[in-house]
């Protein structure tokens, strides 16, 4: 849901997902990046494409979103009226590029030293524009949560939690 900073549920239709995945896949391939994540500012990876295995995308996303949000506070202190448009962290073997999408979403790109930053920037900007347009088009459908978590699911989830947490047998 694009217009709501504290929205409790972010639910996209299958079609929107497919569209996002196409953009991310395209970006990954053209840029030769190793990971592209489309994340929301609540810290969730909405979708991602990667050539790497054994990468904890959840944790990486939570940290990247908070990194980005911290610098948004710096922008405020500096008197910027908007968030920084992008952030770049350069390492020896890995680089990280974060690109703001409409203030409520973030594009995270990881790439190696053989990839040119200008290229990443250009391609990311292009995809960010497409994603932004998509987000402005879709509307959140709240009743989908109720459908996804029906009564049986809720009951079973409670039982599984008790088992995992050692609370009941």
């Amino acid at each position: 849901m694009s217009g709501q900073p504290n929205g409790n549920s972010v639910i996209l239709s299958e079609k929107s997902y497919q569209e996002i995945n196409t953009y991310l896949g395209d970006l990954l391939q053209k840029s030769r990046a190793s990971l592209c994540v489309f994340a929301d500012m609540n810290g969730y990876p909405v979708s991602y494409k990667t050539t790497r295995t054994a990468l904890n995308v959840d944790t990486l996303t939570a940290l990247a979103v908070n990194d980005f949000s911290a610098t948004a506070e710096i922008a405020k202190i500096l008197g910027e009226t908007q968030r920084f448009r992008y952030l770049y962290h350069e390492g020896i073997k890995q680089n990280l590029y974060l690109c703001n999408i409409g203030n409520h979403y973030l594009l995270i790109v990881i790439f190696g030293p053989h990839v040119n930053l200008g290229m990443i920037r250009m391609l990311s900007q292009h995809v960010a524009g497409k994603l932004d347009a998509l987000l402005n088009r879709i509307r959140d459908e709240k009743d989908k949560v109720a459908k996804y978590m029906d009564v049986e699911f809720r009951t079973l989830l409670g039982q599984e939690l008790d088992k995992a947490f050692g609370l009941k047998n």
Binding site: N8, N42, Y44, D58, S69, M149, L156, L157, D162, G166
Partner: protein, 189 residues
């Protein structure tokens, strides 16, 4: 929460809030130490050189599939210290359920109260009323001799009459009950 139809997953965000040193990080450390590594990612702690939480801690949990759907949980703690207020605002965004960790010691009553007030303000700034959010109180450090009676804490702090759980996070007492309750509040909503 976040639903991913492609992977058939649902993700919930749970935040531990409260004054500095009330035991928020200890709660996550205990959860992390007890759960099967298959269910639980690394505990990420962004700490200052003095070991206090800077920004937040983060722990990722997941269960096996239920009706084909995979439930996952993002657990965050906030930095208690006053100077990290901006970071707390960010962590609070999109919270599905919140645990307010109270330091039960008599001398910390004012700190608990100030933190609760701050929570209320921050939620308001994010456009959420505290009465809309599923949340509970954990009265922690029940082992300490200076711990105030729960009845007194209830009267002074819990004006919303949200559920509460007594805990000794260092030994793990009440830690999983608290997390279980926080999730239950979401799924009962």
């Amino acid at each position: 929460m976040h639903i991913d139809h492609q992977k058939n997953e649902i993700v919930f965000k749970i935040v531990y809030y409260g004054p500095g040193l009330s035991g928020k990080t200890t709660n996550l450390e205990y959860v992390h130490s007890q759960l099967d590594p298959g269910l639980c990612g690394d505990l990420i702690s962004l700490k200052t050189s003095e070991g206090r939480t800077l920004f937040f801690d983060f722990l990722h949990l997941e269960l096996g599939r239920i009706q084909g759907k995979k439930p996952r949980f993002h657990l965050y703690t906030t930095a208690g210290q006053a100077r990290y207020a901006a970071s707390r605002q960010v962590v609070l965004q999109g919270t599905d359920s919140l645990v307010f960790v109270v330091d039960s010691q008599r001398g910390r009553l004012a700190d608990n109260f100030a933190s609760l007030k701050e929570l209320q303000n921050r939620l308001t700034q994010n456009g959420v009323a505290i009465t809309q959010l599923p949340w509970l109180i954990q009265y922690n450090k029940r082992d300490l001799p200076m711990a105030e009676d729960v009845a007194v804490l209830e009267r002074k702090l819990n004006i919303w009459e949200v559920p509460y759980i007594e805990a000794i996070a260092v030994t793990g007492r009440g830690v999983f009950l608290t997390l279980r309750k926080a999730i239950e509040l979401i799924i009962k909503k």
